[in-house]
Subunit: 210 residues, 3 copies
């Protein structure tokens, strides 16, 4: 893996792990609950991606990822009380994490299959599934039913990365732009409520009035 | 794959994708939510099946499946308001989808392992898991707790296909009969409330009365 | 696989299958619901473990596991009414199952990767995921949010097994001790409410009082 991307990868895992640990703190779990949710959220999306792409699961190969998740969990365990609104922090960490991870997922998908389409899929998948798993297991509403932009941000980020990559720009620029696009979309959603038009049921064909 | 079955496969994916998109319309999601639920429901069951059978995931190989899901999502997005009761349509589409997909799953399981037992498992799994994933993520009650026949329909359909296949009938007949059996069982459940006897706790061994 | 462990493995699958079937009985499902939850709970954790370790899924290779699940489901279907408190039985069966399965998972992880760290992960994963899947699909609160010791028990059991195994003790002793440690921890949780200190939000740094 290209070194830039490897850093992105560790950062994404740590950020998602932090959101898992914050969820554990909001649920008042014990330290093992922190570890569990940190690891599940941190490596969940990437694990599904690797299974689907039929490559060895990344954290079985590189156990440093698990150490990163656990260290993050410990860090959150001892510092979460210092922040004013843990929900707020969780929301923003999640935004950064999904931006980073959408790029990493797109990169891995493109490298392994050469297909831009699959790359966008693996980007979106990697960016969202960890958080969805976290929310389903913690019994919270998950990203699928978010009204504001969420999945869309990962798709935009992954697509930007893929387009720039195929246009031949250097990987670092592609990753930076991809991450920035995803983050901007999600940040707008959090800060200003950016949303795509929701589906609204329109009335059926009206009966002819006499 | 035998051509008949390939058609069944695309049909099953499209039908399940339509149920995902209809769920998105009932939840008033945006177009990306339609894509997400259409793809998840459309290819979810088959993805788990392929991972368990240790073959390449079908949609990574044939991206046309993703295109089918997305086209279906767009179609539903622009037409869902025309139908009277979207829930009704969802229920019946789901019935057709599980029938088709139980057969496809059984076919793939039988072809790859030669075991009728595993084939019935993969048939039932492929026919139900996409819908279960859809319902869990959308926060709706899932098939496991349905009172009327549901999982049973996929098992009957898959079993019929497997029995006829092993008896040497032509694949087209096997698939048609298998699909028909599953659909009949599920249709009876929707239309007439067909159900297998539920477990009822009976009183324990009564104490000897004096 | 070493014969002792193979017995543990079948026992773990049967015990988890029994908890799935008991959940089905509490939800008043039909016999197919019993089969579904018995199989899902019985082989779910091990299936995820095998996918992640990139080895053939155990029940595709050895269909006897499915037969064990189904036989257990039938047994529970016909006897569950005899027990006073099915919830109580479910709780204790689950405790034995997770103890047995934590050891089996750790054994398989250690054998395949040689890494004690991954072995503890696969032990904890195998011991908890089947039950978590069962609870999510049945719409019950899952292990992640348990206040008493649960995940911790599988981690302790798996870690004990791994430490003893690496210290060169005979496999039988390692497995027995590992299982006993896990069971003791979980039994204490059920019987005496053993719990690790939960995370409590402490007030932030107080403002200097004048």
């Amino acid at each position: 893996m290209i070194p830039y991307i490897a850093w992105f990868d560790y950062a994404g895992v740590a950020l998602f792990a932090a959101t898992g640990a914050l969820t554990a703190s909001r649920k008042q779990l014990d330290i093992m609950g922190f570890f569990f949710l940190a690891i599940l959220t941190g490596v969940g999306g990437g694990t599904v991606r690797d299974l689907i792409l039929d490559v060895p699961v990344f954290w079985v190969q590189q156990q440093a990822y698990l150490v990163v998740c656990m260290a993050t969990a410990v860090g959150v365990y001892f510092t979460a009380h210092l922040v004013e609104s843990r929900y707020h922090v969780l929301l923003w960490l999640d935004a950064v994490a999904l931006s980073v991870y959408a790029v990493v997922g797109a990169h891995k998908g493109l490298q392994l299959t050469g297909s831009p389409f699959v790359a966008i899929m693996t980007g979106a998948m990697t960016g969202t599934l960890g958080g969805i798993l976290r929310d389903v297991l913690a019994g919270e509403p998950n990203a699928v039913t978010h009204k504001e932009i969420y999945i869309t941000a990962t798709v935009l980020g992954a697509a930007s990365y893929v387009v720039m990559r195929m246009a031949g720009f250097p990987v670092f620029a592609d990753a930076a732009i991809g991450g920035l696009v995803a983050f901007t979309a999600r940040a707008g959603a959090i800060r200003f409520g950016w949303a795509m038009p929701p589906y609204r049921s329109r009335p059926g064909r009206p009966a002819d009035m006499p």
